[in-house]
Point group: C2
Amino acid sequence: MEPTISIQALQRMPTYLSLLKGKRESGTVYVSAGSISAELGLVEIQVRKDLAAVSDGGRPKVGYVVADLILDIEKALGYNNINDAVLVGAGKLGKALLAYDGFREYGLNIVAAFDADPSVCGADGSGKPILPVEKLKKLCQRLKVHIGIITVPASAAQAVCDMLVDSGVVAVWNFAPAHLRANDGILIKSENMAASLAVLSNHLSEKISKI
Amino acid sequence: MEPTISIQALQRMPTYLSLLKGKRESGTVYVSAGSISAELGLVEIQVRKDLAAVSDGGRPKVGYVVADLILDIEKALGYNNINDAVLVGAGKLGKALLAYDGFREYGLNIVAAFDADPSVCGADGSGKPILPVEKLKKLCQRLKVHIGIITVPASAAQAVCDMLVDSGVVAVWNFAPAHLRANDGILIKSENMAASLAVLSNHLSEKISKI
DNA sequence: GGCATATCGATATTCAGATATCGATATGCC
DNA sequence: GGCATATCGATATCTGAATATCGATATGCC
């Protein structure tokens, strides 16, 4: 194992995981790559290759043991050790993410939010504190936080990113519509809605023009 | 033109657009692929190839005319004609998107939200109506809405997707952590946070294990 | 126990996108 | 006007992911 899974394969893992957990609930013990692919609308080959990258528990004629496969995937994803994260930018989106507790399932725990505007600081409805951004570095270092979530306007995003990296963060989840740069070894994963909209919009304009 | 731009290139367009608009504001008239790449931290080649896919206005020694380039990109993306959209699932995320008015800039206008739960229906703080899901099809057909946004739980996502397609939607923006299927010609763009988290988490577990 | 079959794993092949190379062209200086 | 240079566009190579092919192996029936 440990053959560095491709990004795309990694991104499909949560889907497998969710399907497998459903199967486990309903008491299914074995599952084949073929049945998974049929249920998810993917091609069998891809499922098999993805699973091969994280597990070697597949047996011909039988398939995979559901419970084992779940553990293998979770291990590959690192969901076992819950990761603490900080969030910077307590605007609308920031607060929505802060209040959303579904991330725990994926091993993510937001411990605190930060904002440059002191008027929004204080306790949030979610129970998580919103702190002045000056306290960011200290808290990250004290709690050994390695994940930072950016929900500030685009213009401030790069500065916040630098600040996070300086505080010891090695994985950044960026929701600002900006292209961020950081040294090697720092992973930046952008949730760029503008980029998605570009794809949708382009598809639509091609589609409509054909009508 | 019209050489079907690659998805990845499309997704980079909003970044270019935002940079270019900044330049236009500040009165810059010409811009070269090299300077763009430097400012965004990309490689020059890629910028040139991306721009070549949407514009032929580049002149040696001079570069591109900022204003023309903006128009070319917007034309390729179809931002000129504002697209109406409906949103299904007026939960936390749904309401946040509904209230966010920044999408207009990208040519997207959410006209109404729908929910299966009648108790959340009515007027929203945003001024957009939240309607019972039974009215979805009629409204889509009447207003010729072609974009649907899904913010329901994963278990309901596929059903909602089918319903949208049946109502005439050809581009689906999916925020549910589920893999959706639809006929050819229907574009499904998923904003899968779980997938992103998988990448972050995996990076982190590899990183930490090395320490 | 042997054979048919479901299913996996390993090894090609193909494809799309990213990167590199090189020639072409417009500008500006001498 | 001619030459140096910035910058573009076209073509070629490389890389990584998706897809296809085929042999290997475990099960269960006869």
